[in-house]
């Protein structure tokens, strides 16, 4: 029950944000809130494999970027009128671009996951990083889509009945998608599939002995996580009207991991708290000093060395009234 209440409070806060922002005359607040929602989705997808499944993927930004580029590339071909590979027409319709982003990032995750999951430990961390770097350099080397500079999307994808030229409408659309996304994720985490995944993290050998095809479960979880990040990337492209290789750089993968850790690994609301904490911190510290990364580094170090369970753990301890 308190969790339901927490979820409703978070939802209400985000829903009120555009009004609050315009009342305060600070439109940048709405941008910040939208970025928190999008990054929370991406971080939550990483948390799904990392926190629940114990797979430390250091290349999760790859799928974030693929989703973003799917929207960017479709918009590019819509503008130029030339079909992609001569057969796939461009599109600016949300009903096409979002499923496309899910599909493409899902396929990429299937390929990368199928290969990476054959290793484990340090090698898994490094091979996921390697695949992400390959994709990063691949998009940097594509002059058609702007190379290093990325590709500009002239307008947000259309949704029937909505005026997507209004920033606030795009924001509410993102909020809607994020709500549905987290509802699905909630069901998934608490399904038998989610339980098996947690079991694999705790003891892979035991799950194998119980007759569970561990590899197949992990791969399926990896694909779902890739699709989640792809969806978040597609929304980000729509919101920023821009897709660039920057968002699949390895430091972005690191940032997503920071959000997961900061919020609390393997806790459902952790990624939302973590994304909010990191982005708000960045927003304020960056305004305060250009050397804000110094403070960020120090805070992060303290959280990792001293904290147990991140912000979510802290809240639970406060609510429990004991340390």
């Amino acid at each position: 029950m308190p969790r339901l209440l927490a979820a409703l409070v978070i939802l209400a806060l985000f829903a009120a944000m555009p009004e609050v922002a315009s009342a305060m005359g600070q439109s940048s607040l709405m941008t910040l809130a939208a970025r928190i929602l999008i990054y929370a989705m991406a971080a939550a997808s990483l948390n799904f494999i990392l926190g629940y499944g114990g797979m430390i993927s250091f290349g999760h930004a790859a799928f974030f970027g693929i989703g973003s580029y799917t929207v960017g590339i479709l918009a590019h071909h819509l503008a130029s009128g030339e079909p992609l590979f001569g057969i796939i027409p461009g599109s600016g319709d949300m009903a096409v671009t979002l499923p496309a982003a899910l599909l493409v990032s899902g396929i990429a995750a299937a390929i990368i996951g199928a290969l990476s999951l054959r290793t484990g430990g340090v090698q898994f961390i490094m091979i996921t990083l390697a695949f992400a770097q390959m994709l990063f350099f691949f998009f940097v080397a594509l002059p058609t889509y702007g190379g290093e500079d990325g590709t500009i999307i002239s307008s947000a994808n259309s949704v029937p009945g909505l005026n997507m030229r209004r920033k606030a409408t795009v924001y509410y659309f993102i909020l809607g998608v994020a709500t549905v996304y987290f509802l699905i994720l909630w069901r998934l985490v608490h399904s038998s599939f989610g339980e098996v995944l947690k079991g694999i993290r705790q003891n892979e050998r035991r799950m194998t002995a119980m007759g569970i095809p561990v590899y197949r479960y992990k791969l399926f979880a990896f694909i779902l996580a890739g699709m989640g990040a792809g969806l978040a990337g597609a929304l980000l492209a729509n919101f920023l009207r821009f897709a660039s290789p920057d968002i699949m750089h390895w430091t972005k993968s690191g940032e997503l991991m920071i959000m997961v850790i900061l919020g609390g690994v393997g806790s459902f609301f952790g990624p939302i708290l973590g994304a909010a904490a990191l982005l708000v911190l960045e927003f304020h510290l960056a305004g305060w000093s250009e050397h804000w990364q110094l403070a960020l580094g120090a805070i992060l170090l303290l959280v990792v060395l001293g904290g147990r369970g991140g912000i979510n753990g802290l809240l639970a301890r406060l609510a429990g009234g004991r340390r």
């Binding site: 250091f58 340090v122 690191g254």
Partner: protein
């Protein structure tokens, strides 16, 4: 032919640098089980400290001991204050804590030296060029780097295979818990290995100064390539780091030099250059993925 030879030498020089970094990293990985992303920061600290002294005194050779000392001291501090708490933690905490260290060190360097790249003066004796043979001039400084790297490799081989510390290091990278159970002061060993790794990283950083720009972020550029070397060579294996480092250095350099030209033979120049550069950048990661798929623990992993 001359061009190929020159690129092979350049590749060896890059490979030797990768080895200097990878040697420390692979020991830290193999013995302590710690993923140290901040290894690139030690490389950067060595480069900045040494270059600063060299620029103020005008002598390349005075900068060298300073670079080594600064990197080693920074390494020891990192080990005692941060990494020591991470030995029993999982990889995730290690990755994040050392990632935080990267942020800290980068900003500290910006505060101290600014964002502009600074340049290390070449040592007098090794500036200019020498004729390796008729019609093949080559910068002697790069030869110095190659020679230093090979010398360090030899020294490490002697240290690992002929001394008591080396014996403990070998034992530690094969079975850490057993070494501890036999009553070896493992913390002391950890500190020594970490300091040695930092020293080598500082050496690599300072030697890279005259060739590359000394700037913030230089550590991350080479860090990922170093990780690729460590993983391909097999975690914990100096021999693996040596073979993989040199091989990767040559392959990477050769691809960057020759792929655009190769694509130009059947594509328009601008597109060929782009594609060539892109594939060359992807090359080492592709190589790592292939190696891991065939040998999931790398080529020379101890105990594999």
């Amino acid at each position: 032919m001359i061009l190929v030879l020159e690129q092979i030498l350049n590749g060896l020089q890059y490979g030797v640098m990768l080895f200097l970094l990878a040697a420390g990293l692979t020991l830290i990985f193999g013995i302590m089980g710690v993923i140290n992303l901040a290894h690139g920061s030690l490389y950067m600290i060595g480069a900045f400290a040494g270059t600063w002294v060299a620029a103020h005194t005008g002598s390349f050779w005075l900068g060298l001991p300073v670079a080594l000392t600064a990197a080693a001291v920074a390494g020891l501090l990192i080990e005692m204050l941060v990494v020591r708490r991470l030995y029993e933690r999982d990889h995730l905490d290690q990755v994040l804590a050392t990632f935080a260290l990267i942020l800290l060190f980068n900003e500290l360097i910006v505060l101290l030296f600014g964002r502009q790249p600074i340049f290390t003066p070449l040592p007098e004796l090794f500036s200019g060029s020498v004729q390796l043979f008729e019609g093949f001039p080559y910068p002697p400084y790069r030869l110095l780097i190659i020679a230093t790297g090979l010398l360090v490799a030899l020294g490490l081989w002697l240290l690992i295979n002929r001394t008591r510390i080396g014996m403990l290091v070998r034992a530690g990278s094969t079975n850490r818990d057993m070494v501890r159970a036999l009553g070896v002061d493992i913390r002391m060993l950890y500190t020594i290995v970490f300091g040695l790794g930092a020293l080598l990283a500082g050496l690599a950083g300072y030697m890279a100064g005259p060739i590359l720009a000394v700037q913030v972020g230089m550590g991350e550029q080479i860090l990922l390539a170093t990780f690729v070397v460590v993983v391909i060579g097999g975690v914990g294996s100096i021999r693996g780091a040596f073979v993989a480092g040199l091989a990767l250095g040559v392959v990477d350099t050769a691809m960057r030099a020759f792929l655009p030209g190769f694509f130009r033979t059947f594509m328009e120049p601008a597109a060929a250059d782009n594609l060539g550069a892109g594939i060359a950048s992807m090359g080492i990661y592709l190589l790592m993925a292939i190696v891991l798929l065939i040998r999931p623990k790398g080529l020379f992993a101890p105990g594999a």
